[in-house]
Amino acid sequence: MTNITEKIKLSLSKRQRSEKRFKFLGFIGISFAILFLIIILYSIFSQGQSAFKSTYIELNIFFDEKIIDVEGKRDIEDIKFANFRKIITNSLDNYFPEVEKREEKRKLHEFISSSEEKNLMNLVLSNQELIGKSKQLWLLASSTIDVIHKNPEMERIVESDRLVDDLELSWFKTFKENGNLKFGFNKNFFSKADSTEPEQAGVLGSMLGSFFTLLITLILSFPIAVAAGVFLEELAPKNRFTDFIEVNINNLAAVPSIIFGLLGLAIFLNVMHLPRSAPIVGGMVLALMTLPTIIIATRASLKAVPPSIREAAIGLGATKFQTVNHHVLPLSMPGILTGTIIGMSQALGESAPLLMIGMVAFIVDIPGSFTDSATVLPVQIYLWKSTAARGFLELTAAGVMVLLTFLILMNGLAVFVRQKFEKKW
C-alpha cells in the first residue's frame, strides 16, 4: 500500500504542475482577450464620442423681406423658393465686414452648413412674423469648422497641410473668442440618414434599415427554422434521405454569406422583381442565411431534452405532436433562443450578401416601410469609412458604437426572454 502511495506522490507533483500551467495559460488567454477588448472599446469610444456633438456658430440673422417675400403676399410657395442662402451669407458678411475679396467671401460663406438654409425656411414658414425682423440664432457649422474645433492640435500644423488656411483659422478664432462658437448636441446624428456633408449625416436611416431588415429576418427564419428542426428531429422517419438533408443543412451553415446574396439577386430581384435595396429583400436573404443556424440549434436543444419527459407524455397517451408541443419545445426554448441570438447577431453584422441585392448604396431618405430603399448599419459604417472627408472619421466610430449598442440591446432582449423560459424548468 505505501509503495503505491509513494508512486502516486511522485506523479502528483507533476500533475499539479501541469494543472497550474494549464490554469495559467487560460488566465493569460482571458487576460489578452480582455486587454484587446478594452483597447478596441477605448479606441472606438475615444474616436466616436466627439461625433455626438456639433459645432454651432451664433449669428444675427436678419429675415430680409426683400429676399423672403418680395411681393409681400406671404405665399407659402414664394417663401419656399426664397434664397435663404443669401440671408445666411448676409449675416456672415455683416459679422466680418472687412472681408471684401470674392474668393475670401466664398471661404467665409462655407462656414455654415448648407442644411441651415432649409432649417431657416421651415422656421420662417412656422413663424411668419419673423419676416422683417432680426434674431440671434445658433447655426450648424460646416464639417471643416467642426473638425478644427474638435481637434485643436490641427492649428499648429503648417498651413499647406492644414484643412483650413490661416485666414479661415483667424475667423474661427474670432468667433470663438467672441463667444459665438460653441459645442451643442449633434441633432442630425439620430435624425438623419446619409449625406455628402458629414455634419448632416446621421444613422437613423441605416438604423431603421437594419431594424426593418432584421425584423423580416426574424419573422421569416424563426418559425420556419423551428418547425423544420422539430420535423427533422421528432417527426421525420430516420432514413438515408433525412440523413442527407441533415448533412446539407450543416453544410449550409458554413456557406459564405455572399452566396446567399447571389441567390437573392438571381431569384428575388431578377425573377420575382422585388424592389432593389429594400429591407424586405435584405430580410429574405438574411433569413436564408440564418435558417441553418437556428435549425441546428433547434435540433441540438430538442436532442438535449431528457427522454423521460417524452416517455411520460407518450405513456399518458399524448400524440407525438402533443408531446413535442406541450413538453419538448418549451424545454428546448432556451437552447433555440440561444441559436436565434447567434443567428440574428450574425445577420446584424452582415454586409456582403446585402451588397448583391443593392443595399450598399447612398440612401439619403429615411426608410418608412419594408419596401423603401434602405441601407443597414454595417454597410453605412463601411461607406463612411471609405469616404475621404475628414469629418466622416468620427462618424464611422460613432456608427460602430451604435451598432454595438444595437447588438447588446438585441442580445439583452433575447437573454431576458430565454430566462423567462428557463424559470419554468
Binding site: 423521460s308 419527459i309 411520460a312 405513456g315 399518458l316 397517451g317 413538453h327
Partner: protein
C-alpha cells in the same frame, strides 16, 4: 404456462417475441395477467421483463429498431392489430417509470394533463375534482393540497413518484404498469408506495417489474420469472418464493449463480 387464479384474465400474451435489430430480447412469451390483481415480473438484468412490460402499452413502438411478433390481447382484443391506435391504448393503460418523471409544470397541471388532452372533462370544476380525487387516491393530496401550483419537481422523490401515479390514474386506466417504481426511493417512500399498490389493486390491474424479490413477495399475487428472454415459471407468489418448480427460478431467488 398457466396462471393459478380463477379470476378473469385481463391481458393475455400469445407467442410474443421482441427483436432489437438482430438481437432477440424475448422468445415466444405466453403469459396471462389476471384482472384486478398484482402480477410481478422478476428476473435478472437483461432478462426481458421490462421489454415485456413495455409491449403491453406498445411503448416499444417508439424505438425504431424494435420489432415485435405475436399478439397481445386485452379483454380479448389484439392490441397489435393494424388499425388499433396506440394513443388510445395508452389512455387505457397507464405507466409509472423507474425514475420519477413529473412534467416541469405545477402539481395541478401534471395531474390535469392527461384528462385535458383526452378531453375527459367538460368543465373547470370537473377538472378540479378529478385532480383532487386522483391525488387522494395516490395518497398525496394531504401533503400538497396547499401548494397545487408549485412545480412538480419541488417534491421529494417519493412524493414525485406518487404524483406520477396520480397522473397515471387521472385518466382512469384499466391497467397500471409499473417499471421498478421504487428503485430510486428510500425504504419509507417504498413502503408508502407498496401500501398504495395494495389499495390500487382493488380497482386496477397492476403489473409491476421489480428487482426486489421481497417486494414481489409482499405486493403481488402472481409472479412470473423471466430469464434470458424466456418465461421460465409463473405461478402464485407464495409458491414461487417458497417452493418454485424450476431450478432456474430457485437459483435466482436464492441468489445462486444461475
Amino acid at each position: 404456462m398457466v396462471t393459478v387464479t380463477s379470476n378473469n384474465i385481463k391481458i393475455k400474451s400469445k407467442k410474443i417475441s421482441v427483436f432489437y435489430g438482430d438481437k432477440k430480447a424475448l422468445d415466444s412469451i405466453n403469459l396471462e395477467i389476471p384482472e384486478k390483481k398484482v402480477t410481478s415480473l422478476i428476473g435478472p438484468s437483461g432478462c426481458g421483463k421490462s421489454t415485456f412490460l413495455r409491449c403491453l402499452n406498445r411503448m416499444n413502438d417508439t424505438i425504431d429498431i424494435c420489432r415485435i411478433e405475436g399478439e397481445i390481447f386485452i379483454d380479448d382484443k389484439n392490441i397489435y392489430e393494424k388499425n388499433l391506435d396506440p394513443v388510445l391504448l395508452r389512455a387505457r393503460i397507464g405507466m409509472v417509470f423507474q425514475k420519477p418523471n413529473p412534467f416541469p409544470k405545477s402539481i395541478f397541471d401534471n395531474v390535469a394533463y392527461g384528462p385535458k388532452i383526452h378531453g375527459i372533462v367538460n368543465s373547470e370544476d370537473e377538472l378540479n375534482d378529478l385532480v383532487k380525487d386522483s391525488l387522494k387516491k395516490a395518497g398525496l393530496y394531504n401533503e400538497v393540497k396547499d401548494r397545487l401550483n408549485e412545480p412538480g419537481t419541488s417534491l421529494s422523490g417519493g412524493q414525485q413518484q406518487r404524483l406520477c401515479i396520480a397522473r397515471a390514474i387521472a385518466v382512469s386506466p384499466e391497467v397500471i404498469l409499473m417499471d421498478e417504481p421504487c428503485s430510486a426511493l428510500d425504504p419509507i417512500a417504498t413502503a408508502v408506495i407498496e401500501e398504495l399498490i395494495d389499495e390500487l389493486a382493488k380497482n386496477f390491474t397492476i403489473v409491476i417489474v421489480t428487482h426486489s424479490m421481497q417486494q414481489a413477495a409482499r405486493v403481488s399475487q402472481q409472479t412470473a420469472f423471466f430469464h434470458m428472454g424466456n418465461l421460465i415459471e409463473v405461478g402464485k407468489t407464495e409458491e414461487i418464493f417458497s417452493m418454485p418448480k424450476q431450478i432456474k427460478t430457485q437459483d435466482y431467488i436464492t441468489g445462486k449463480i444461475g
